[in-house]
């Protein structure tokens, strides 16, 4: 027993010494005037390695860039803890929602003055819709957009040929999409169309593209500072068509497990899939068995699409804003041109960096992806994919309570109005 207690004592002392070891980690100015700029991404180990490699090209004798590791899973939890501890790195990957919320709380450095003007890194050097979306109501810009997602329809060319349907192309209509889904289903596909973007809590926003394309009103007048949500006749018409598609089995219902949808599409099990351009990067390595293409979202009379961007934010307490901005500029303008050729995941928001992305797609023979992404970026009518407000979870709860049941036909279409009335109450209470 004594030996056991002695061993435990030794272990405790050794562990205690290890446990109390001081931490490094934080960035800042060193005694010799040199600056370390810290950076945190949500990328995979392979992409981080490519970013590290690209950052070796950044030369400034007074600035060292240090990437801080974080697990990809639960990035938002990690961000919340770092925010609370005031330990956010100088540059960290952020979504539009995080940027809007943190900026409004004064947690981020406002880059608006540095991005003003028409210099080589001014607001005009970015895709115009992104800068508009990254600006808060009071004109602050707490982060710089980096990559843009474009949504469209992935289609299995052989399945379309077998069903005798023309493959989707720019300008195709919602009715053509519903018709194709029905025919593909009749030809043996479990579902002709899998569109989680329509069935999930983002559904009301995604379906806004139908209303906007038909000249109607979107679900929300603004995803950043909404004043109200609306359901008009064109919107209800779009929902009724989705409901009919789900009822007939042509469209996958809410609750359909999408965790392996990319693999199922690549294996020819899903003939038509509403998703983003990012599959292209995976398809370069995973090589699908099928011939496939990527078409823009369907339209009623004019094109309308979804807006979704991610970016890089800086906390308000960054110790050297000049150095941080220099690294930020290098990341957005140069790093992507070195990383995207090997993994063309999304188009850069910085216009001059886009050639590297489109060049990689062309080189890989992904011409339909390149064309659809270009079409998406040039579509003037857009709607954000979801609310970016702090109270978004409250509206999501309401959407969860109504939207799936409406799509499944368990609740009448008239409940769309009930849902929007309740969301409008949430907006009113939080405004």
């Amino acid at each position: 027993m004594k030996r056991w207690i002695r061993c435990a004592g030794v272990l405790l002392s050794a562990g205690g010494l290890l446990a109390t070891a001081a931490c490094g980690g934080s960035s800042g100015k060193q005694s010799d005037g040199k600056v370390t700029v810290t950076l945190m991404t949500w990328e995979s180990a392979a992409t981080n390695k490519a970013i590290d490699q690209a950052l070796t090209g950044f030369h400034d004798p007074n600035i060292t860039v240090k990437r801080v590791d974080t697990p990809n899973g639960n990035y938002s939890d990690k961000l919340a803890a770092l925010t609370q501890a005031k330990k956010l790195p100088d540059l960290f990957w952020c979504g539009n929602d995080t940027e809007q919320q943190y900026t409004s709380q004064g947690l981020l450095t406002d880059w608006a003055s540095r991005l003003s003007g028409s210099g080589d890194f001014g607001a005009s050097s970015f895709v115009s819709s992104t800068m508009k979306n990254w600006k808060t109501a009071d004109g602050k810009i707490g982060g710089v957009p980096s990559l843009l997602n474009t949504y469209g329809i992935w289609y299995d060319i052989d399945a379309f040929k077998a069903a005798g349907i023309t493959v989707p192309a720019a300008g195709w209509t919602w009715d053509q999409m519903f018709d194709a889904a029905a025919k593909l289903h009749a030809k043996g596909a479990k579902y002709g169309l899998v569109a989680d973007a329509l069935a999930s809590t983002d559904g009301p926003f995604s379906l806004s593209t139908y209303a906007l394309s038909a000249g109607g009103k979107p679900f929300a007048d603004n995803v950043h500072q909404p004043t109200r949500t609306t359901i008009d006749a064109t919107y209800t018409e779009g929902v009724s068509k989705v409901v009919a598609g789900i009822k007939s089995g042509a469209i996958a219902p809410p609750g359909y497990d999408i965790s392996n949808q990319q693999g199922l599409f690549a294996a020819g099990q899903i003939p038509m899939l509403w998703s983003g351009q990012w599959f292209a990067a995976g398809f370069l390595t995973d090589k699908p068995k099928i011939k496939y293409g990527f078409a823009p979202l369907p339209q009623v009379t004019k094109p309308a699409t979804l807006y979704d961007a991610v970016g890089i934010c800086t906390p308000s307490y960054t110790q050297n804003a000049d150095a941080t901005f220099k690294v930020l500029k290098y990341l957005d303008s140069t790093v992507w041109t070195k990383v995207l050729p090997d993994s063309p995941v999304a188009a850069p928001a910085y216009l001059s960096a886009q050639n590297a992305y489109f060049g990689a797609l062309d080189k890989a023979g992904q011409t339909s992806v390149a064309a659809t992404v270009k079409a998406g970026l040039n579509t003037p009518t857009t709607i954000g994919v979801r609310f970016t407000t702090q109270w978004a979870s409250q509206s999501n709860d309401l959407i969860t309570a109504y939207w799936p049941d409406i799509l499944n036909g368990k609740k009448p279409l008239s409940d769309l109005q009930t849902m929007t009335d309740k969301i409008n109450d949430v907006i009113k209470n939080n405004s």
Binding site: A19, T47, P71, Q84
Partner: protein, 260 residues
């Protein structure tokens, strides 16, 4: 239980594209044993393994030792408020652990414990697991008081009775607790995620999450993930199989409590 582990093993031996085959095949066409070397390399496995062993080892020692002491006191000592303390411990089991995350985080940050292992270890030494205190108390209640009385007659104090008499005869109880504490600490993901900033201090649970990504365009290397996961699972499995006899004894003994 066997099928998921078999499935993990088969994925761990597959190539990156074979993982996504539809319909899935149980046996790989080619065996990629190299995954068991490449996977651990991605997350600096040996360093994180050492971190996990230190954090888990200290948590187990602290949690089990203090729970046994508290359980002994609640079951064998007569002092005012004994029942109140017991109800406080048992009542705290009803609180979801997530409730304490924000205040505890704020506390540990304010006392300078952020980015150290202390928030993961010290609470265990302060009786951080009420379930173990409850289990220990129940086990001590099943031991006849005549044993303490005999020891007292021989001149033993409480410390002597606890260490020399009670610990040997409650072996199944504290080994059961040790297994449970090992499993809890080994698999704890949220606490190290929020308290540890430096990746050199991560335990394996956090390192494992580096394989999985929730973001667009990034297909996780499932084969490397599963290969590393099998290695990650080994220590708890070994601990369980080595001590399973006591584990069963410990659990079954709780059903024969002799309340006094």
């Amino acid at each position: 239980m066997i099928l998921p582990i078999l499935w993990m093993l088969t994925v761990a031996l597959k190539g990156p594209s074979a993982v996504f085959e539809v319909p899935p095949k149980l046996l790989p066409h080619e065996f990629h044993f190299k995954n068991f070397i490449d996977g651990p390399k991605v997350i600096h496995f040996p360093r994180l393994l050492l971190n996990s062993l230190v954090i888990t080892g200290l948590s187990v020692i602290g949690g089990v030792m203090t729970s046994m002491m508290a359980g002994y006191a609640l079951a064998r000592l007569r002092f005012p408020g004994r029942k109140v303390w017991f109800y406080v411990f048992v009542g705290s089991m009803l609180l979801p652990p997530v409730v304490g995350i924000i205040p505890l985080f704020q506390l540990f940050k304010d006392i300078g414990w952020y980015d150290t292992w202390l928030p993961l270890i010290v609470p265990a030494f302060l009786g951080g697991n009420p379930l173990f205190i409850f289990l220990a108390r129940q086990y001590f209640l099943s031991i006849p008081h005549s044993i303490d009385e005999a020891a007292k007659v021989d001149g033993a104090g409480h410390a002597r009775i606890f260490f020399s008499v009670m610990l040997p005869i409650t072996k199944p109880a504290w080994i059961t607790m040790s297994i449970l504490a090992f499993q809890m600490s080994w698999n704890d993901y949220l606490n190290p995620l929020i308290y540890l900033y430096s990746s050199q201090k991560w335990p394996l649970s956090v390192g494992m999450a580096s394989f999985v990504t929730q973001f667009a365009g990034q297909t996780p290397d499932w084969n490397l993930y599963m290969a590393t996961n099998l290695l990650y699972m080994l220590p708890p499995l070994i601990v369980f199989f080595v001590a399973q006899r006591y584990f069963i004894q410990g659990l079954s003994a709780l059903g024969t409590v002799n309340q006094r």
